[in-house]
């Protein structure tokens, strides 16, 4: 076990965990922030996506020991982020969600995309969110909602 000082959604949080513990489990089990989901555990589905120093990151494969000083932003902070708010509003307006399990990861990836590419094309969206799987196949509505969020952010 080792102690780590984390910056999560702008707050300092201290955890005492094994260095190999994936960030996902630190968030969910130690910090009780369950908005970030476990899907596959091998970075193949995107359900666990968070932002690490602004980079959309699969938290299930990131051992906490490799996090360093980089700040972490999770789905819980999106309502207070202008881009995150726009994406969430678009998600509601387009009624994107079906079962909803993958959607926090989808939203985190969509926000990361829009922060770097404010007017994404269909290709941009497909490439950037291509690693976020949705078993309900809401992909068409996701794409529409990303375009809608981009329009709202003009």
């Amino acid at each position: 076990m080792a102690k780590y000082q984390l910056n999560v959604n702008g707050e300092r949080r201290e955890v005492s965990v094994d260095p190999s513990t994936p960030l996902l489990w630190v968030l969910r089990e130690d910090l009780k922030m369950t908005g970030t989901k476990f899907g596959c555990g091998v970075s193949a589905c995107g359900a666990c996506t968070v932002h690490v120093a602004g980079v959309a990151t699969r938290s299930c494969v990131l051992p906490v020991a490799l996090l360093g000083e980089r700040p972490v932003v999770t789905i819980e902070a999106m309502a207070n982020d202008p881009v995150g708010r726009a994406v969430q509003d678009a998600w509601v307006e387009r009624d994107v969600v079906q079962c909803g399990y993958c959607q926090s990861g989808q939203i985190m990836s969509a926000v990361a995309l829009l922060k770097q590419t404010p007017k994404p094309s269909d290709v941009n969206i497909d490439e950037s969110l291509g690693g976020n799987l949705c078993r309900c196949a809401t992909y068409v509505r996701i794409r529409e909602a990303v375009h809608l969020a981009a329009q709202k952010l003009k």
């Binding site: 994936p22 091998v42 970075s43 959309a56 494969v61 990131l62 051992p63 690693g131």
Partner: protein
């Protein structure tokens, strides 16, 4: 006669040096075309992974600068070091080699030795590297060094390393450089 003999000796010396350099190059080539190296020197829009050099999962794409695309960057999974507890390899600034440095064709088949050699020695395609810079790159570049410390797979087994040790690879590169970086003839 003495002059001719001297010229013949010199020609023989040059030929021997070239042959030695070509032999060294072929050793270098076995490393460059090993999966730990060639998986990120693709001719396509995606990296490869594994010893069988399969297409990278999750629809990972090259992106404009070889570092993926927003929300699906290489650095979104590949950290600055191997994550042995989760099986994800990592190293500083993990990225694909630019297309100018591809060592495969578009069907994912390794290019022949002569073609790879020409790429590696062409400043327009190798990042403006001189022969000495190539030697330094092979000896010291962090992502090159990673190939000999590639960490563990998700199942806990160790990833395969190139057929030469790093010391042997550097020594072969040095012999090739000292021979004037000769390349095999294109067949």
């Amino acid at each position: 006669m003495a002059f001719l003999s001297g010229a013949r000796v010199e020609a023989r010396r040059v030929a021997d040096k070239r042959a030695e350099g070509l032999a060294a190059w072929e050793q270098v080539y076995t490393v460059l075309t090993h999966p730990r190296c060639i998986n990120c020197h693709t001719a396509t829009n995606y990296p490869q992974q594994g010893d069988e050099r399969r297409r990278h999962f999750a629809n990972v794409v090259r992106g404009p600068d070889g570092r993926g695309v927003p929300a699906l960057n290489c650095a979104g999974c590949h950290q600055k070091a191997n994550a042995d507890s989760t099986g994800v390899p990592g190293g500083p600034d993990w990225h694909l080699a630019p297309l100018s440095m591809r060592w495969q064709d578009e069907n994912d088949r390794p290019l022949p030795s002569a073609a790879v050699c020409q790429q590696v020695t062409d400043p327009k395609r190798n990042g403006q590297m001189s022969a000495q810079a190539l030697l330094k790159h092979n000896a010291e570049a962090e992502l090159v060094l990673w190939a000999w410390e590639p960490g563990r797979r998700p199942d806990g087994s160790e990833r395969a390393t190139p057929p030469l040790t790093h010391a042997e690879f550097v020594a072969a590169t040095r012999r090739w450089v000292e021979a004037g970086t000769p390349c095999p003839s294109v067949k």
